[in-house]
Amino acid sequence: MSRRWPTTDRRRTLDAFDPRPLEQRLTNTPRLRSTTRTALTGVALLVLAPLTAAAQAGEIPRTAAGHPDMNGIWQALGNAHWDIEPHTARPALAMQPGPVVPVPATEVLALGAVGSVPSGYGVVVGGSIPYLPDAAATRDENREQWLERDPEIKCYLPGVPRATYMPFPFQIFHSDAHVAITYEYASAFREIYLEDPGEPQVDSWMGQSYGQWDGDTFVVRVDGMLGDAWLDRAGNFTGYGTTVTERYTMIGPDHLVYEAEIENPETFSEPWTIRMPLYRNIDPNARLGQFKCVEFVEELMYGHLRKNPIRGTGS
């Protein structure tokens, strides 16, 4: 790839556990937390130079109206889609008791290592989700009954913010008058209204989005979500009546920082935030794929209702 990676990004340590406001984290010397991080930061410091606002602005493509131009195909890296909290690798999402230690459940056994869960260092600012006790119990039940409950298994719409860090790209379409995001997974779609649409007329899976520019950050308030969507494959959820405030901040032509503050006093003791970088697909041939998974789950959901079921009696 002949294209040069923007050096400004390397100077910035994006740390999901760093509770400082984004602006501070982007402009100040990265916070030093551990020996490893100190070593890494040391490398970063070698290339540190004073960052002027003009230099930063020059790095970011802009629309005619002067806003950061986010048009393009983006994707999160990492393993937040498995579990947004810090977690070690484990054999499978669905487990059953074994003679010595738990082993993968029969339903997923055939997948072997393909069905195993890679570790992740988490995207929750502060480390863990501040569930209220009842909600924490529901999350644990969700995790136990993942195969029956995870909406992703049935190809249901992912909701916000899960859509952002599914292991699929999404494309932002963005002019000065309209913004829409289309996600490869399940052809999920959101229009982000730039004028206040008022109270959502109906609840929906992807909610109603209202976006405004706060300087160079695109701030989107999402409400009117049904509350059936999950946050990951680990049973984390937000429940009905959730408000998500997303912040999209470009930190270079090909990188943006995504933050989502999640607020629901019925589920959480306080508002909390996830944060992660998003990466532009810089391949000039990059295109959004099609993953209309509805047809892929018909056997799972309706196979037992065939005239001649092909798997036993079905469930």
Binding site: P151, Q201, N285, K292, V294
Partner: protein, 367 residues
């Protein structure tokens, strides 16, 4: 509301047509300025097609036999009044003393409405937004959306086209229509909108949610069909088509500007996608099917949509059509179909239940 909007468009279009005749010798910019309407443009100079649009109309895809391409004003009044009368009668309170409908339901004579309700009142007009006006295109009230072949009907199949239709019919004959989910229509499976709504070509579904959102950027144009939130990403520039074996739903689309007209060329359309559905012109695309669409904004409230279907493998001739897209004031809804698709499950369950009952009756008969 949509009636008022269309009337206004009709008036505006009529005025445009007259002006166009008077000013035919003048260059286009002067004509546009004289009519008082200026093409809205994006900062890069391309026409602004963004926003919400609807192609709902009561003009059918295929021309009814014995009708001219352009309807008289008397025909338009009669057709639109007929639709209003039908809507009014459907809104009337039901007679609480009425008996059960006959087996098979009470049919209204509107084939699409009857197909959807089964004549048993599955939907009434509260749920339906089919398009209550005749399509006005370039100021002409049209009797069909197909304008070529000149009889307003689908071009004839080639012998190869006939062979493929027969092959599909023979394949499907081994199934009862309720045997498997795959035997049900795509819309019932929440795979796509009714008919040819998602496109290409993007045609009305004659039932509801004939709505589209367009967001435009220099590199790519997004067209979202409200029903089943199907998104077409039209990439601008020199086409780099997919390999022949990759045939996604909605096909592979590339766009370019021809003056102020957005031209979209689509190939590699999914072999199971129905084109020109909701009509007796419907067909399955071949590997050679190419659809060319042309979108031209003609006023604040209207966009001209032309399509050409080109496939020498299955058709003896091209098929061309013209459809007005009218500006839609208001927000679109999320059409989350699959997430609550009780219908498909119950359709299959009903068939299994019926089979079980028949088996039991047969056993009793044998005793």
């Amino acid at each position: 509301m949509s009636r008022d909007r269309s009337r206004k468009s009709l008036g505006a279009l009529g005025a445009l047509v007259i002006l166009a005749c008077i000013l035919a010798v003048l260059p286009t910019p002067s004509a546009a300025q004289s009519s008082g309407w200026v093409m809205p443009r994006l900062p890069d100079g391309t026409p602004d097609l963004q926003g919400n649009w609807s192609n709902a109309t009561m003009t059918p895809i295929v021309r009814p036999p014995g009708v001219a391409e352009i309807l008289t004003s008397e025909q338009v009044s009669a057709l639109e009044q007929g639709r209003q009368d039908f809507i009014t009668s459907d809104y009337e309170d039901s007679d609480p003393e009425r008996g059960a409908p006959p087996v098979g339901g009470e049919l209204t004579g509107d084939p699409i409405f009857d197909a959807a309700t089964g004549g048993t009142g599955g939907y009434n007009q509260f749920f339906v937004d089919a398009g209550d006006n005749i399509a006005i295109y370039d100021g002409e009230p049209r009797s069909s959306l197909i304008v070529y072949p000149e009889d307003g009907r689908r071009a004839a199949f080639t012998p190869e086209g006939e062979r493929r239709v027969a092959e599909r019919v023979a394949f499907n004959r081994q199934f009862n229509q309720y045997d498997n989910p795959e035997n049900r229509p795509l819309a019932e499976r929440c795979m796509m909108s009714f008919g040819s709504n998602g496109g290409p070509p993007m045609l009305p579904n004659y039932f509801y949610n004939n709505n589209y959102t367009i967001v435009q950027t220099p590199d790519a144009i997004m067209i979202m069909t409200e029903m089943v939130h199907d998104v077409r990403v039209i990439r601008m520039g020199e086409p780099r088509p997919l390999p022949e074996h990759m045939r996604p739903w909605l096909g592979d689309s590339w766009g370019r500007w021809d003056g102020d007209t957005l031209v979209i060329e689509t190939t590699n359309i999914h072999p199971q996608q129905v084109l020109m559905g909701m009509s007796n012109a419907s067909f399955y695309p071949s590997e050679d099917t190419r659809v060319i669409e042309r979108l031209t904004r003609v006023s604040d409230d209207q966009m001209n949509y032309e399509f050409t279907i080109d496939d020498p493998t299955i058709f003896a001739d091209q098929i061309r059509g013209e459809v007005p897209f009218n500006r839609l004031d208001g927000l679109l809804y999320e059409y989350a179909c699959h997430e609550a698709n009780y219908a498909l499950e119950n359709v299959l369950r009903g068939a299994r239940s019926q089979e079980e009952r028949e088996r039991n009756e047969n056993q009793q008969d044998r005793r």
